[in-house]
């Protein structure tokens, strides 16, 4: 329970998920802007279900894809996740298998995509994809490096979101840690007088223990 409690404290209060989701949305919007792309998405790995889940989408597909799932190790995103190697594809051609996969995972058929794993320490958390960068310039390895650096930022955002979810699970849970986390959350939103009284009580409790 202590890990969950730590997660709860780290995440602060209820509602943190909303903030981190906004951060993640900003990440995909920024990725789309940096590369002048048509769309950008972040997929989160759901380890229990062994599936990738759309967590944030900018541009094409942004209204419909959040929450959509597909198997974790098939297709481009799956390959990138499992191998932890970034991949850029131009000229997708007309391979029907690829088109179908792409259409299912993006809502439309892109001409090209960049995909990069989201890695936090030794964990692979998900995948960032950037679809249809402009085709008037030759791709450079500097862009590849930029994608990698940017993916690190996205990974931090995704990690925060995951911590917030663990925190919420702890807050919603029964038992001592859940109760403590709920109290911490209430203190954050209480008015000044209630808050001061609450903190005095907690200090007394701490002395007692």
């Amino acid at each position: 329970m202590s890990d969950e409690l730590r997660a709860a404290v780290a995440a602060g209060v209820l509602g943190a998920e909303e903030s981190f989701r906004t951060l993640l949305q900003s990440v995909v919007e920024t990725a789309r802007a940096i590369f002048g792309a048509k769309a950008s998405s972040v997929f989160l790995l759901d380890e229990e279900a062994d599936e990738l889940v759309f967590e944030a989408v900018a541009g094409e597909g942004s209204g419909t894809l959040i929450g959509k799932r597909f198997p974790s190790s098939t297709g481009i995103a799956g390959w990138v996740l499992v191998t932890r190697q970034p991949l850029v594809i131009d000229d997708l051609g007309e391979d029907p298998r690829f088109s179908r996969e792409a259409a299912e995972s993006t809502g439309y058929v892109p001409r090209g995509l960049m995909a990069v794993p989201l890695l936090a320490d030794e964990r692979a958390l998900g995948v960032l994809e950037v679809l249809d960068r402009p085709r008037d310039s030759r791709f450079t390895l500097a862009e590849m490096d930029l994608l990698g650096v940017f993916a690190n930022q996205a990974a931090v955002a995704l990690d925060l979101l995951l911590r917030a979810r663990r925190a919420q699970a702890a807050l919603g849970g029964e038992g001592d840690a859940g109760a403590l986390a709920r109290i911490a959350s209430r203190l954050e939103t209480a008015d000044e007088a209630e808050r001061a009284a609450g903190l005095r009580l907690l200090a007394a409790l701490e002395d007692l223990l």
Partner: protein, 280 residues
């Protein structure tokens, strides 16, 4: 899953010293020229007789760019047991086909074996990768292409043992460097050849990197590669630079069968584009 002791560790003793009368026994079969050139290294070579393994997502068997794939295997997990079985499914992603096509384009007559270690789910992919690599090392391939890596520290030690074991068994492991600021394996081990990308469009242009851990840079930008359904795609990534070096290794090995990985790395170095191997 238990990883069995590697054969290199079971060789009979004495093996680690050289008696005076034994010096002749280890005389090297290769006459090395005063200057090693690309012509000496792989002139006229086709990859004939060299066994190359692509450890990846599988390889499409009838792809016109890849041609014949002599053997296809898949590593499968059944409960706690991991098995290597003959495979007829081909490629689940396209990536293995891309790597095989690049190797084939450089070494048209090499023998290609596909070992699929990807596609069976993210969970458990580490043990499957280890089992696939262990199996491939036991098969004594001349070259193993690994356009993939893991960030899991728990696998690093076993991967390291396998990489060293390959090196001692005369199997050259060619692995993609990670172009992201993370710690990953097996490319960082010195017993493998690690490969990053350069921006030029010549398949035989490759550079030695005097500031490791990445040892060589090969073509990895906007490469036209084989993909699913007999098609081609234009791809960028170290994943595609790696099979360029694997293909060049296959060429060198087909002309100089006796080379150890140490010697092969030396030849690669000596004829790198920034050393002695500007296009001759």
């Amino acid at each position: 899953m238990a990883i069995v002791a590697h054969e290199s560790q079971r060789e009979e003793l004495p093996a680690w010293s050289l008696s005076a009368e034994a010096a002749e026994r280890i005389a090297l079969p290769t006459e090395w020229p005063e200057r090693v050139t690309r012509e000496w290294a792989w002139g006229g070579a086709t990859g004939n007789g060299v066994r190359v393994c692509v450890l990846d997502s599988g390889v499409e068997r009838t792809h016109p760019v890849v041609g014949d794939v002599q053997h296809s295997w898949a590593v499968r997990r059944d409960g706690d047991e991991i098995r290597v079985e003959a495979d007829a499914e081909g490629d689940l992603c396209g990536h293995g086909t891309a790597c095989a096509g690049i190797i084939r384009s450089l070494a048209p007559d090499c023998e290609l074996t596909s070992v699929r270690v990807l596609g069976a789910g993210f969970t458990g992919s580490g043990p499957i990768l280890l089992a696939g690599l262990e199996w491939a090392v036991q098969q004594s391939f001349d070259v193993i292409n690994m356009s993939l890596s893991t960030t899991k520290r728990q696998f690093a030690e076993t991967l390291h043992e396998l990489a060293d074991s390959a090196y001692f068994r005369r199997t050259m492991l060619v692995a993609s460097a990670h172009n992201m600021p993370v710690e990953s394996f097996p490319w960082r081990f010195s017993s493998v050849i690690s490969v990053g990308s350069h921006e030029e469009d010549d398949a035989l242009t490759y550079y030695y990197n005097p500031t490791p851990p990445v040892e060589f840079f090969a073509r990895g930008l906007e490469v036209d590669v084989a993909w699913l359904g007999g098609k081609t795609l234009r791809c960028t990534g170290n994943s595609f630079a790696t099979p360029h070096i694997a293909g060049i290794c296959a060429l060198i090995m087909s002309k100089h069968r006796e080379l150890t990985p140490f010697q092969l790395k030396n030849v690669l170095y000596l004829v790198a584009s920034n050393v002695g191997g500007r296009r001759e």
